[in-house]
Each structure stands twice: as C-alpha cells, then as structure tokens.
Symmetry: C2
Subunit: 305 residues, 2 copies
C-alpha cells in the first residue's frame, strides 16, 4: 500500500484491555475518570469495559456501573463494550453500549485457554453475538486475537487469520481488528496482513492492536498507517498485558504512538500533553511506573504543546 496517509484514528483500550488483568482493584470512579480523561484528550472511541463473567474477570465486575457513570453525558461518543458470548452482548446492550466488540482467536490452544473453545467454535459464536447486536441496532466489531503469533503454537499462518476475517464478514461488522496479542509481530507481517485484508473488503474498517512486548509496537503501528489501516488500538501509559504471556508488557502506549505520529506529520486529533498527564495519573492509581516511554522521558522539544 504505502499510501502514507496523513491521519489515523486511535481507539483507547486502557479502561478494558489495559485494566482487566491488573491485580490492584481500580475503583469505578477511577475507571470513569480514565474514560472521561480519554474523551478530554480527543478520543472519539473508547473500549470502556468488558461484559465477561465477573468470576473470570473480577476487575470488570462493575461494567454496568461504569456505563451508568458515563451515560448519558458521553452518549455521542463510541462506547465499546467487550462481549465474548450472547450473555455478554445482552448485558452490553442493556448497559447502553453503542458498539459491541467480539473476539475470535486464530489459534486453538490460545482459544482453549482464553475462552475454553476451539478457534472454529469462536468464529461460529460470532453469529450469536451478531444476532443480538443486530436486533438491538448496535454496531458490531470483531477482533481476531493471536493473529501475529501464538505463545503456544508459535507462527500463525496469515491464511488462518484471513479465513476468520472472511467468515465473520458475513455478520456485517462495522470493523474488524487484528491483534498482536503477545507482541511478537513485525512490520512486514503488518503490511502483508493489511494487503490481504483490503483484498477481502474495502468497505469494512480495519483495525490493528499491538503490544510492545518486543519493542516492535511503534514500528508496527507506523507500518499499519502506511498500509492504510483505519484504526489503531492504544492504551494510555501502555497499561495492559496478557495472563497467558507472563513476560508481556502492555498495549502499545498511546503517548508513544502520538509522539511519533505528531513528529511524522500523521494527525490523530489527540492532545499529547493530556495523554501524558493521564498516564502519570493512572500510574498513581495503579501504584507503579507504566511502560510508556514518552510519559517517562517527556515530549521533545520539551516546550512542545
């Protein structure tokens, strides 16, 4: 592609993917503040919570309370709720989410550990979630996890990822995302995956989701923009991680992406100073330094807005 577009839209995922594995309980009020800070920094889309079973993901047990705290004030924003099955989708609709995100997995071993299913079962289950979303008039997005590699099975053939994307396109999602769940991907994979995705559809929006586990996150994000990706997930401070990849660091940090994009002339509409402030605040909430490099090192030039 190498179209070198001059803008890309980021989706903030810290309130869900960033926090869900944190051991420190985060209060509902702090989750709401994190979401409101995201909107104040310029985000249009935020993955606000997960409607997973509270016993499996206790950090997200207050999903309904978080939604109640941000509605109706932020109803004009895209409030994405993660739902891994029909029950989750029903909860997301009832709570007022105006987008549901469902997760397929490209690897059977990861699918078994993450969702107690096979890869094919998860692809099939998208129909259940899609039916509820359609019935409620709520847009559906679908993520494909371990698309760049699996911690148990190693390399994942691009064809497996694209086959899943092709299969779920029948549900008319507004967007399909490819996730580098364990942060093993490199830019050549990004470029090939985006080319294959555009071969499937030029109308659905394509999203990519990177972790910076091996310091490839920024390079992958730049490659994705050059390849014409529509959306990039990011998490303020770089919070997040994966329970099945112990050495993994978090999602690629929003500040790190926006810093590079700003200096490369790629517009995001986000306020880097506010993102850095939020990263410092969130580090205080979680009681630890966060992985973001730019939040630690600061902007350059230091006088930049």
């Amino acid at each position: 592609m190498n179209t070198k577009p001059n803008s890309v839209e980021l989706i903030e995922v810290a309130p869900r993917d960033g926090l869900q594995n944190e051991k420190v309980p985060v209060s509902t009020a702090d989750k709401i503040q994190l979401i409101e800070r995201s909107f104040a920094a310029g985000y249009r889309q935020v993955e606000v919570t997960s409607f997973a079973h509270p016993k499996l993901v206790p950090q997200m047990a207050d999903a309904e309370a978080v939604m109640a705290g941000i509605l109706p004030k932020w109803k004009d924003k895209v409030l994405i709720g993660l739902a891994l099955n029909a029950r989750g989708a029903e909860r997301a609709v009832a709570a007022g989410c105006n987008q549901i995100n469902y997760v397929c997995v490209a690897s059977d071993t990861f699918a078994a550990k993450n969702q107690n299913s096979t890869s094919a079962e998860l692809t099939a289950r998208a129909a259940d979630v899609a039916e509820i979303a359609k019935g409620a008039g709520v847009p559906l997005s679908i993520s494909i996890a371990t698309g760049f590699g699996c911690p148990f099975e190693g390399e994942i053939a691009l064809s497996r990822v694209i086959d899943i994307a092709r299969a779920v396109l029948v549900h008319d999602p507004v967007e399909i995302g490819f996730a580098d769940t364990i942060g093993c991907g490199v830019p050549t994979q990004v470029t090939e995956m985006m080319a294959a995705a555009h071969g499937l559809s030029r109308t659905v929006k394509w999203r990519m989701h990177f972790h910076d586990t091996r310091h490839t996150g920024v390079a992958n994000a730049i490659a994705a923009v050059h390849a014409g990706v529509d959306y990039l997930d990011a998490s303020v401070g770089g919070v997040g991680g994966c329970p099945f990849a112990p050495a993994a660091t978090g999602n690629v940090a929003a500040e790190d992406l926006v810093y590079s994009f700003n200096r490369m002339g790629i517009a995001t509409g986000l306020d880097l100073g506010k993102l850095i402030d939020t990263a410092h605040w969130l580090g205080g909430v979680l009681g630890k330094p966060l992985p973001s490099a730019v939040a630690r090192a600061g902007q350059f030039p230091s006088t930049a807005a």
Copy 2:
C-alpha cells in the same frame, strides 16, 4: 530510497557508549568478556573503549588495559576506539585500535556541555584527529551527535547536520555516523537524513545510532535499513544513556533490532540467542534489569534458535 535491502551490519557499542555512564565500576576483565562475547555472537566491529580523559570518564580509565586484553587475539576484528581530541587519538593508536571514532556535535549548547567547545570548534578539531589517524594508517570514522534533536536547543535543522558531514568528508573518513543522542528522532527524519547523506557521498559508509528513549529506536532502525544505511550501532541489553538527558534510556538494544530484522528477513549475521545470553550476563554484572525488551520477553517462536 526504500530499497529494502536484505542485510545490514550492526556495530556493538555497549563496551564504550553502553558502559561509560554506568555508576557501578565494571572490571577490565568483564569489559574484555563483553567484547569477546560480542565477537562470539558474530560482530565484526565493536566500539571497544574511549580514550577520554580518565578524570572526565572514569569508567573508561582502563582503555589501554582493555585493548591489551583483546590483542593480539582479535586483531582481525574492527576495534574502534573513541577519541575526542589529538591526545585521545594518539592513545588509541598506541593501544592498537584499528579504527578511531571522533565525535562532532550539531548543537552548540550540547557541544559546550559535552566537550566544552562550540559545534564549529569540534568540526574543525576533526582535522587534528584525522592527521594522527592518517599518519598512523588507522581508518577514521566520525559521529555527529544530537543530529535528530538537542535536549537544550530542541529541533536541529537537517542542514546543520549535513553541513558538518560535508565539512568532515574532506578528512576522508571510512564512515560517518548520525546519532540520535537523546532518542527523539522519528522515521521520517531518518529517511530524509539518509537521502541527504547519499546526496553528499555514495562511497563513504553511512551509520546511524539510535536510543530508544521514546520507543522509536526499532522503527528508526528499520527506516534506516530501508533507506540504505550501511551500519547501525546497537548495544547488547540496551545499556547506555546520556548524562545530559536524565530520562533517557540506553542505546537501542541489539536483541530488539536483531529480533525484528530476523523476522523481517533482514540478515545481520548475529546470533540472537547469544545476544540474549550476553544481555542477561551483563545485567548481572551491572546488578539491574536492562532495557532490552527481547532479552526480557524472550524469542518468538520460543523454540527459535
């Protein structure tokens, strides 16, 4: 350029740039082991030490002893000694270095703090070092620091960097390097700088030197390879830093570069497993975790050589 070459040569700089600011004294024996481990991992060129004044850089006070420890066994490798003036160059020649690296600085404020000189004085002083190198028949390389930005002056115009490169070309260096001393650079700068450099000379070798302070190191290195750079500096474990940029992390980690390059089909001739082993060993010597992501997270697939 975007020639997408399928190989690049890395230069290991941990023994000099990596260690020089470390507060923990590193023994001469450990420095020698670090250099020998570098050659065992496949490096041809190592920046082995600095011939700065021992009072200014006490960690490098054993420069002659380090050289004595690796000669004559490693005389067929490129043993680069840093020399900031004629006295340093004389010491490097006497110690048996077969390449001398001199440092110019693109910013006056940084030049004053780092070498107590103006930018122009440092460019002029290259002649003193070049005369000694030429007289001894030792190849000269020249680095240009703060080429991507200065912590005090902010943005540095590309023309300033290129003017210095043009001025020092008269000394017939084998190689000129551009250093992102404080880790603020982005890939678009890399591409523009390489294009301007190739406009100056297609015969001198061009090198780039990145720090991962804002997580742009890997992206910059990939951009440099695509733009036809000849050599990239790297440091095992990502050790290093800059005394004038307190929040800076180290040089871009050799493991992080080799991991990405391996998976992108860019050959370096280096053994990633041995680099990771060396990073773990060096972390033990320094008594702290090192910034490298790949040394921490491990290879992918985990069974990779």
